[in-house]
């Protein structure tokens, strides 16, 4: 629990985003009751389709972060040369 709080304090923005996303999707996919037999496929397909926007956003975020990181690396390299 202490590690979780420490993690949240260190990374407040992504953590808040995660919690919000989790809250929304949890309510979309949260089971209303338990089933004796579990179909492993349907829920997996539903999640892929529902989460497509989130996955795309995450991919864009990673690409943007990599672009900025590359920019700063380039500037640092320019200064050093």
């Amino acid at each position: 629990m202490i590690r979780l709080v420490r993690h949240l304090v260190r990374h407040p923005a992504p953590a808040a985003g995660m919690l919000w996303f989790g809250f929304i999707v949890f309510h979309m996919v949260a089971p209303s009751r338990a089933w004796a037999y579990l179909d492993p496929i349907t829920g997996s397909i539903v999640l892929q389709v529902l989460a497509a926007g989130f996955v795309a956003g995450l991919a864009t975020f990673r690409r943007t972060r990599a672009w900025f990181a590359g920019l700063f690396r380039k500037r640092t390299a320019d200064r050093e040369s």
Partner: protein, 483 residues
């Protein structure tokens, strides 16, 4: 789909004779799940029948250039079409002969790094497939094997044509076979890497979700691919895909994003290989440097004299003596029960681009049993293939004292594995044995040089006996009694 290839050595996986094929064809006991085809052996050669129902996908797989692309990246074993009578001609399209891998290992015998690299290979294969209009229809970790330290797909029939809007059918299987165990090893305990042995199909997502720590809920990848995935699977269990979801589908771009996201997640998973009891054994083995050099020389000399094709180094730690065995030209299975030691061994294989050494994580006090359907789907360690030599250095005291296994039982088990044995006896006076006895009563009255030699003489003939310097340890070279 799960099918396995076997080494060219004797004693590969057991085979069962299917009711329909001619009596000379033996269908492998693990090759039954996928109706696309099956693996069979005839006259000692391994083949795969490709069924007519899969012919269109198989043709598309070749026409797309995916086969060549995967071969060029070392991600798939090669095969050739052969003119061989199929065992079930009424459903057969053709027969192929796949290349063989040196040893079949299972995901619950892999260290963290092996499992992670196998996961990355699966995702790379999937990305290449999508580029060429194909898709991986399954993502079983059993379909990946290691050849010279590199993960390769051995199931040539794992691909099908991609259809627009099609989600990844194998997404759940990938998460249960790869992602869940990797997260559990990293975030909970390395021993949870053994959990897949308890299940037919990876670690159920719901189990993984319960076991992962609370902080995993704020990790985007754990949250999405494990926690929410588990809940979604449970919620929609027994229900058809809702029409709205079917209509929306998953675009090709979204599918690629999903696979790339998974790849990013898996590639970022790191595990610190530290902190277990035997991780530092190589530097803390208690040998005088001169005696240790002498032991290396003697082991090399014994193995060179035998000239083995395959050596099983049991209790290999990080594989120091596996390299000596490998230098004789043999394929070496480098087995240890310590996950950190195996991880370090594997990392060395990678960093030095070593070939012919396969690190394996097995607790020899409880070696991998026969598992899977009817207990014939996945073979026990001893039943999988045969070694020419077993190398058992600084091992017997762990089995005899820590494991309470009587010496005659150890001798009988080792005699089952190989016709030759190079083994070290470590006496009670040695500090390493002293460590094992420090907190317990010494009930091991037979654990003496005489007791050891009596037990092993019942199964083996002595070829050579050498005391290693001043260490008090003794090296034996034995040959199995065949009478």
């Amino acid at each position: 789909m799960v099918c396995r290839l076997v080494p060219e050595t004797d004693g590969g996986p057991r085979v069962v004779t299917a009711p329909f094929p001619p009596p000379t064809a033996e269908v492998l006991s693990a090759s039954f799940r996928d109706p696309s085809g099956f693996v069979f052996r005839r006259d000692g050669v391994l083949y795969r029948q490709v069924n007519r129902r899969y012919a269109e996908h198989f043709a598309a797989f070749h026409a797309s250039g995916l086969y060549e692309a995967l071969l060029s990246d070392g991600l798939l074993i090669s095969h050739e079409t052969v003119d061989v009578e199929p065992p079930r001609p009424e459903i057969a399209e053709l027969v192929i002969r796949p290349a063989l891998v040196p040893f079949i290992s299972y995901p619950y015998e892999w260290c963290f790094g092996q499992l992670r690299d196998a996961a990355l290979a699966t995702l790379d294969i999937q990305l290449l497939a999508i580029q060429r209009g194909m898709v991986l229809k399954d993502a079983s970790a059993f379909n990946i094997q290691f050849v010279d330290g590199r993960p390769v797909l051995i199931d040539t029939l794992s691909f099908e044509r991609y259809r627009d809007g099609q989600p990844w059918t194998a997404y759940r299987q990938f998460c249960e076979h790869f992602l869940a165990p990797l997260l559990l090893i990293r975030d909970v305990d390395p021993w949870l890497g053994r959990l897949p042995a308890l299940s037919a199909d990876g670690i159920p997502l719901e189990v993984a979700s319960r076991l992962l720590p609370l902080r995993s809920w704020v990790s985007p990848s754990s949250l999405l691919h494990v926690h929410l995935h588990a809940r979604s699977v449970r919620k929609y269990g027994g229900r058809a895909v809702p029409e709205k979801v079917q209509r929306r589908g998953l675009s090709r771009k979204a599918l690629v994003n999903l696979i790339q996201g998974l790849r990013h997640t898996v590639a970022a998973l790191n595990w610190k290989a530290v902190g277990t009891e035997w991780a530092n054994y190589v530097t803390e083995h208690g040998y005088d440097p001169g005696d240790h050099a002498e032991k290396r020389r003697l082991v090399g000399e014994m193995l060179t004299g035998i000239a083995p094709g395959a050596v099983w180094d049991l209790g290999s730690n990080t594989g120091e003596f596996s390299r000596i065995a490998r230098a004789t030209g043999a394929f070496v299975l480098s087995v240890d029960m310590d996950p950190v030691a195996v991880e370090r061994n594997y990392r060395r294989v990678l960093s030095d681009a070593e070939t012919g050494i396969h690190p394996l994580w097995v607790d020899l006090r409880n070696p991998t049993p026969d598992l899977g359907w009817a207990n014939v789907e996945r073979d026990s360690l001893a039943g999988r293939s045969r070694a020419d030599v077993v190398l058992a250095l600084a091992l017997v005291h762990h089995l005899a004292i820590t494991g309470n296994v009587p010496l005659p039982n150890i001798a009988r088990w080792l005699a089952r594995l190989a016709p030759n044995l190079v083994i070290e006896f470590v006496p009670k006076t040695d500090p390493q044995v002293g460590r094992l006895l420090v907190s317990r009563e010494d009930v091991f009255v037979d654990y003496t040089t005489e007791g050891f030699e009596a037990a092993f003489s019942a199964e083996f003939q002595l070829a050579r006996r050498v005391e290693v310097g001043q260490s008090g340890r003794i090296l034996y070279q034995y040959e199995r009694r065949e009478d």
